[in-house]
Symmetry: D2
Subunit: 139 residues, 4 copies
Amino acid sequence: MKNDNNSSKSLETIDIRVYYEDTDAGRVVYYANYLKFAERGRTEYLRVHNIENSKLAEETGVFVVVRHLEVDYRAAARLDDLLTVETRVVDLGKASFTMQQDIKRGATLLVTLKVVLACMGQDGRAARMPQALRTILEG
Amino acid sequence: MKNDNNSSKSLETIDIRVYYEDTDAGRVVYYANYLKFAERGRTEYLRVHNIENSKLAEETGVFVVVRHLEVDYRAAARLDDLLTVETRVVDLGKASFTMQQDIKRGATLLVTLKVVLACMGQDGRAARMPQALRTILEG
Amino acid sequence: MKNDNNSSKSLETIDIRVYYEDTDAGRVVYYANYLKFAERGRTEYLRVHNIENSKLAEETGVFVVVRHLEVDYRAAARLDDLLTVETRVVDLGKASFTMQQDIKRGATLLVTLKVVLACMGQDGRAARMPQALRTILEG
Amino acid sequence: MKNDNNSSKSLETIDIRVYYEDTDAGRVVYYANYLKFAERGRTEYLRVHNIENSKLAEETGVFVVVRHLEVDYRAAARLDDLLTVETRVVDLGKASFTMQQDIKRGATLLVTLKVVLACMGQDGRAARMPQALRTILEG
C-alpha cells in the first residue's frame, strides 16, 4: 500500500556534522557510517512524533528492525561538512514499511538509501505494526 | 560481463569474532557493522592475492570505491559469535565490478550483500581498472 | 602554565543524543564511544571560535593530536539519553595543552576526561602552537 | 594486592589488522579505536581461559565494567598495519583488577593502556569477583 500523503507533510530533516570519527584514511566519510546518519534520521523522524526507540519496545513488545537496504553512493562527504538527512515514508504495509532517505550537502545529493523495516515481536517473528507507529507513518 | 570462473576458485572466506564494539542495545550486531565485516572480507580477498588497499592507490593512482550496495538482513549475529564472510566476484566490467558476500554463523546465512565497486582516479572520475586488479578479479 | 581565566569564560557545552550506534549489548554506551563524544566537544570548542580541524592543518601545517588520556567512568549513558559535553582548557604550554571534559546527563556526572593534546608538524615532530590556536585557548 | 606471577605466564597476545573502518581523515587509526583493539585483547585473554563475556554475566550475574582508563599515544598505526595487543594483569583486588595493555607494530610500541575494571552486579553496585574469574586473573 502506497503512502499517498504529499511528501512535504511526511518529510523530516536533520542536520549532521561530519567529525573525525566518521571519516577514513581515504579522507572521506567511511561507507558504513552513512547508515549511522540514516538511522539518526529515522530515529528523529519518530521522536518528533513522540515515539522513542527505547520506549516503543517496552510499551508494545514490538521492535523495528532493518530487513533490506539499498544504497547509492554518488559523491563523498568530508571532514567538517554539514549534511542534511531527509527521511520520508514511501511504502506502508501491515508489518513493514519502507523509508527513502537522502543525504545531502547543501543542494548536492551525496547518498540515497531505501530502507525496508519490519516489526518483530520478542519471539523474533514478524509482528503486526503497533497502531501508534502506524498513525505516525501514515503522516 | 559475467565472471564464468567456477565459484570454488574465486571464493575467499575469513573468520570474524563479534565483540562488544559490534553490538548495540538490541543485543545484536548493529546493522551498519555488517558493512565493516564485509569490507574486511573484500580487503582480505585482495590481500591473499598480494594487493593491499594502501598500495594499490599509491602504485596505480586508482582507488576502489563502493558505488551501490544491496543488503538483506535475514538473522542477527550476537556477542561472541564466530562468523564467516564469504566473498566472490559475480560481475566484472571495464571500470567496475560486483561482489557477492555472505555472512554466516556456521551453516546459517545471516546477511547477504551485493556490492558494486568502481575504479576512480585521483580526479574523482571513473578510471580504467588496473591490470593487476583485473587479473585477480578474473580468478 | 595554568590558564587563569575563570571557567565560565572558557567553558563550551554541546548536546549529544545517544543513538543505537553508540550503545552495546550491555545496553549502555560502549566505553570507547565517550571518546567520540569528547572529540565532538573539542571540535565545537574550536569551531565556535572559527577554527576548523580541516583548515587548521591546511593553513598552519600543524595538527593537533591526542598524546595522553585519563578517563573516569562513573555512571553509564543509555539509548535515547540526551547528554551534555562540557569542555574547558585547564593547562596551556608551548606546544601542548590539556582539556578537562565532563559528560553529563542533566546534573549527573557520567564520565570525566582529562585530555593532553599536542601540536605536531607534518614531519610528525612536536611543533610550536599556532598563534591563532593559542589566542583561542587562552580564552 | 599485586599479582606476583611472572609476566611471561599471564601475558596474552592477539594480532589485529588495521582496516579502513579503524582509520580517520588524518590517515591514522582514530584515537578511540585503540580502545576497541584493547577490548578485543581483554576478551581473548578471558576466552583463552574459557570465559566468555556473554556467559560470565549469565552464569554469575556479575558484569565486568571499565572504571578508569589511562592511555599514552606514542606513535600512530596506519591502514593495513598488522598490530599486536599484549594484555597482562598488573593488579588484583577483591572486586576490581587492573590490566596493562601494549599495542605494538613489530617491536615499536604505539599505544599503552592501563585499564581498571570492576565487578558489578545486576543492581549496578560493586560485586565480589566470581571465583572462576579470580582463578584466571591470578594466572
